[in-house]
């Protein structure tokens, strides 16, 4: 008997995670990629090199990651939706450029396929060690957006969402994935139609200021006749450098913060699994959330009232959601592939004690490890 087919659902396509990023980027309108080879992200670059050829876009392999992020910023100001992909060491090299992109309100998407660090670490092994680098990698006050997919399907979907958020808020958006998801092959559904957001190139107002304290200014491109002054120095709404004016600096830094932080309800996405009557809850993201949902199901079978709060957004941090869950459960457990980065942030919001399960040997957490922790420490 043939399997039943829902005519409303698109057909399933088997795809590698990193390839899904490239496919989705093209669909949402990415027409520039600048990058440098690095394991375990290189499949993104190799696939999009071909796709950009076929779609009248521009691909360039730059001389290093520093040049890659700079070329992406330049291309974005020329009007292209632009992206790069990298991993730990390359992400570190890109931090200065990312601070520049943030301060100049340049939309771009960076895919970080996390590997085990620090330094060169384990190039081919999974980790979730860049949690803090997404938020604190660049110097100065800095409020970019980081999304965390947990499947190949979500790598596809959140690539689209990354571009949409970047264009909407004029901010760099990080797709915080990892080696396990990037190299996984899974069936995904590719929809014909979805929302595509494009930056506002024409309109009232200055390119680097807004009447609203959380406003996103218009962004003309080079060649539009706007005589743009783009600078990474402190600038007034028009773009003139104003490096000695305390009000100009404070107003700019504050608006850039509010541009994302006043819109957390629009940006932050979480999912709840079995939380209604949960007495203990996991809080997880990415590949570790998949481990956690499996563990929760098995704990339920054993009669333990466990639940999961899964976040698809690392930054801004899901403060409200953690606070709510923290009021309900007697313990919040954060499993992650680092020494406790998300757990340390969660402690600031959870009324319930925050436990942490950490694995840093280059492999994903197994559900048994989570179940064992609950049975030994929390029963």
């Amino acid at each position: 008997m043939p399997p039943s087919v829902d005519p409303k659902k698109p057909p399933q396509t088997l795809m590698q995670g990193n390839v899904a990023v490239a496919e989705a980027a093209i669909r949402v309108g990415c027409r520039f990629f600048g990058g440098y080879p690095i394991t375990p992200s290189s499949e993104v670059m190799m696939r999009i090199a071909q796709l950009l050829r076929e779609n009248n876009g521009t691909f360039i392999q730059m001389e290093d990651e520093i040049a890659s992020i700079c070329a992406v910023i330049g291309a974005s100001w020329s009007g292209a939706k632009a992206m790069t992909a990298t991993s730990g060491p390359g992400f570190s090299l890109m931090q200065e450029g990312l601070g520049y992109a943030y301060f100049t309100e340049t939309p771009l998407v960076l895919v970080d396929v996390q590997r085990a660090g620090p330094a060169t670490g384990q190039a081919t092994h999974v980790a979730q060690g860049d949690v803090m680098q997404f938020k604190y990698g660049s110097h100065g006050d800095y409020y970019p957006i980081a999304l965390a997919p947990w499947s190949v399907q979500e790598l596809y979907d959140l690539t689209i969402r990354s571009f949409n958020l970047a264009e909407k808020y004029r901010v760099p958006v990080f797709l915080a994935t990892d080696e396990a998801i990037g190299h996984a092959r899974e069936n995904i559904e590719i929809y014909e139609e979805f929302e595509i957001v494009d930056r506002v190139r024409e309109g009232e107002g200055m390119p680097f200021g807004h009447d609203a304290p959380d406003g996103v200014p218009v962004m003309p491109a080079f060649g539009d006749g706007a005589s743009l002054m783009v600078t990474g120095s402190t600038h007034n709404p028009q773009g003139f450098r104003k490096v000695d004016d305390p009000d100009v600096h404070n107003n700019l830094v504050t608006r850039l913060m509010r541009k994302t932080m006043d819109h957390v309800d629009d940006i932050v996405e979480t999912e709840e699994y079995f939380l209604d009557d949960a007495e203990i809850a996991f809080f997880a993201f990415g590949i570790s959330a998949r481990t956690a949902v499996a563990a929760v199901r098995r704990l339920r079978e054993k009669g333990v009232k466990a639940g999961l709060l899964r976040t698809r957004t690392l930054w801004p941090f899901p403060e409200k959601q953690i606070t709510e869950v923290g009021k309900q459960v007697r313990a919040l457990i954060v499993p992650e592939l680092n020494k406790g980065m998300m757990a340390s942030v969660a402690r600031g919001y959870s009324q319930a004690p925050v436990h942490q399960i950490n694995k840093t040997n280059g492999y994903v957490l197994e559900p048994e490890e989570l179940i064992e922790y609950v049975e030994e420490e929390l029963s």
């Binding site: 040049a67 009007g79 080079f222 006749g225 783009v230």
Partner: protein, 252 residues
């Protein structure tokens, strides 16, 4: 600045940021005159610069699109901007420390790729804005804030470096020879592909004062007296050659 070039200046400028006697104002005038000759529409011009005194030559002074970037990275930014919109006439103006020390890798790779950019290096042989430290272009023996006993390392010959990397046109002229400098920039702008002009532009504040050339007349006449033809330079021993400016076109 002649009134004729004012059409390229940005409205609302507060005045120049350059020290009295800085060569960069002359270079700004030379760049604008060369740009005026090639007749590209203002909205199709993009000036890109890095960090330092020279990066302020286009930003904010020139009233076209300007991209004032990170230290050393102007050429990488310009590469992305140009490739994403090839109709932009993209011109990089930045300093010697910026383009050739911290940014040296981007410079040689853009030349190798033959990206359609013109790079104009405002070469004052010193880090000006940060306080007169030794650059990769500082002559042997010259004093700086980090080499009070005199620099002991050889400087780059920038035209040779960029020519070897594959540039389609390279030339060197000092701001003391403005007509030749304008002609060279014009030629660089008209040539397709990667072109490079090393514009020797003296720094009285950080270089002159430390090297017995606080007097502007002495500084500028010394620069002029050190200019030799490429043939004359090649005939010199290395030590002597490194103290002179080989002036002319190297790849034409």
């Amino acid at each position: 600045m002649s009134r004729a070039m004012e059409k390229y200046l940005r409205e609302g400028l507060a005045g120049t940021a350059f020290c009295p006697g800085c060569g960069h104002g002359i270079l700004l005038g030379a760049v604008l005159r060369a740009v005026d000759r090639i007749g590209v529409k203002k909205e199709d011009l993009l000036f890109v610069s890095g960090i330092g005194c020279a990066a302020w030559i286009p930003s904010p002074n020139i009233g076209t699109d300007t991209l004032h970037t990170l230290h050393g990275r102007a050429v990488a930014f310009a590469t992305g901007a140009k490739l994403a919109n090839p109709k932009l006439k993209t011109i990089v103006v930045s300093g010697d420390g910026d383009l050739t020390s911290i940014g040296g890798n981007h410079l040689i790779h853009a030349a190798r790729r033959n990206v359609d950019l013109t790079v104009i290096c405002a070469d004052n042989q010193i880090y000006g804005m940060t306080g007169g430290q030794t650059a990769s272009t500082t002559p042997v023996g010259a004093k700086s804030s980090t080499d009070p006993g005199g620099n002991i390392y050889r400087p780059f010959d920038l035209c040779k470096l960029v020519s070897a990397a594959g540039a389609r046109y390279t030339a060197r002229y000092p701001v003391t020879q403005p007509r030749k400098l304008i002609d060279a920039i014009e030629k660089a702008l008209r040539q397709d592909g990667f072109t490079f002009v090393d514009a020797v532009s003296p720094c009285p504040t950080q270089f002159g004062r430390r090297n017995q050339m606080a007097n502007l007349k002495k500084l500028y006449s010394t620069v002029e007296s050190l200019c030799v033809t490429p043939a004359e330079a090649e005939a010199m021993d290395e030590e002597t050659r490194l103290h002179h400016f080989a002036i002319g076109e190297f790849v034409a």
